[in-house]
Amino acid sequence: MDIGGKMQLIAGRIFGAVFLLISFLIIYIYMTKAVKGSVPKIRKMAGLEAIPESIGRAAETGRPVHYTPGTAGFSGATAGFAAQTFAGLSVLTYVSRLTAKYKVPLYVTLAYGEHIPLVESILRESYTFEGRPEAVATETKVLYFPIATSNAPYASGVLGLFERVKPASNIMIGPFYFEALAIAEQGFIEGAMQIAGTAMTYQIPFFVVACDYTLIGEEIFAAGAVVSQDKPLLGSIAGQDIIKIITILMLLGGFILQNLGIDFLSILKF
């Protein structure tokens, strides 16, 4: 399709271009609306609702909470998973405020050195927010089990910690590899209340069976956005909902039209 001069729209990709432009527009509108004040309300997520309950249990039993924001670094091979790590760090802010309030010991285990400064600043902010900055030194502990190439050292480090401190609550939100299975299993054996969430599809099955609550895939981004009240992110989530509804209508409408003899598919291939 000619659009002036030698410039042409490439055939077969025009529907895609229109769909992409509409999607960008919708997301942009909802992001700006959210920043201007009309912040969308995110639905209840069982995993997120259960966090206060699990920290309450830790307070009752006097046993600590264990938290990990996942095992992916910001650079190198695992660079593509930064968004999941940030969701995990946002939920850590929420969790550390609760442990500060209820005076529950909190262990945070990390696999990448670059996460340490971020986590330490989150803990300082949370405990200061709850008016107990001095408690960071006594009630929280950041443990670093560096990943060499395989995640086995991190897994065995966390397993050793579980056997020593017997956590009452184990919360794992972020990107994970095979060590997720070993930690979730040990947490289950120790009788901890476990809440996990990741977008790494290979690890979700293990979380679902071994944990009490599991946030699946994009739910961890929604959870991170809710606890951090990150306005552009909340707006973008609302915008994505609209696109998902459009896609659902395309699926259902397309199926019906195609079977009524109207060639809906040719529109998609346009």
């Binding site: 979700i204 099955p205 679902v208 994009e218 739910e219 259902l252 809906f264």
Partner: protein
């Protein structure tokens, strides 16, 4: 078949046993095995990556076949190393920006077609001429895809009709994650079986 006399096989077998000591508990032998792997992997990757940089960026610059391209990529590459300086670390963001911008553009346009439009097209089938079982499977698949997608709606409470739709979507995903679990068992067992074959047959020659 007798025990292997090939020194290479002995090196591999002994390193295998060293690494397996972690089954009992974490210990210095395992740590040694792990760090040998780190060293070899880092050195190996350095060579393969340097080979690409030398062939595609430096050589064209030196032999003049790609002055502009070689020059620009060399500058952008070297800028990354400013990360170590307190004053000029922000210069590295210029190179990262080019990498992130290009990768983001490629990913967005790619996801749009390969992961969105193609998948929507795959769910839209003409079922009128199919066998009854195929009609059932096609309609059921469409419903499952729609329910799974509906589960990921975040600005609508999962109550009433949407509650049921989302629950059915989550159950569909459970079947999918079950299949993924089944696949994981095969892959993990395979790696272990291959190590056993190496020790029993290649090293000890028992077969």
């Amino acid at each position: 078949m007798a025990i292997s006399t090939d020194p290479s096989v002995w090196v591999a077998a002994l390193l295998t046993i060293m690494a397996y000591t972690i089954i009992y508990k974490d210990n210095p032998l395992y740590k040694l095995a792990e760090h040998i792997l780190v060293g070899l992997s880092a050195g190996y990757l350095f060579i393969q990556t340097w080979k690409m940089i030398y062939n595609s960026s430096l050589l064209p610059l030196f032999n003049g076949s790609g002055l502009l391209f070689g020059g620009i990529t060399l500058v952008l590459g070297v800028l990354l190393f400013t990360k170590f300086s307190k004053k000029y670390f922000w210069l590295s963001n210029i190179s990262i920006a080019v990498l992130v911008g290009t990768a983001t553009g490629l990913t967005v346009r790619g996801y749009l077609f390969a992961q969105l439009i193609e998948q929507v097209k795959a769910s839209i089938k003409v079922v009128t001429a199919l066998q009854p079982l195929d009609i059932f499977n096609s309609v059921l698949s469409l419903i499952m895809v729609v329910c799974t997608l509906a589960y990921f709606l975040f600005t609508f409470e999962q109550k009433g009709a949407l509650g049921w739709i989302a629950k059915f979507g989550r159950y569909t995903m459970m079947a999918a994650f079950g299949a993924a679990y089944g696949g994981t068992v095969m892959t993990r067992l395979t790696i272990f079986i291959q190590r056993m074959q190496y020790l029993l047959f290649t090293w000890l020659g028992l077969a």
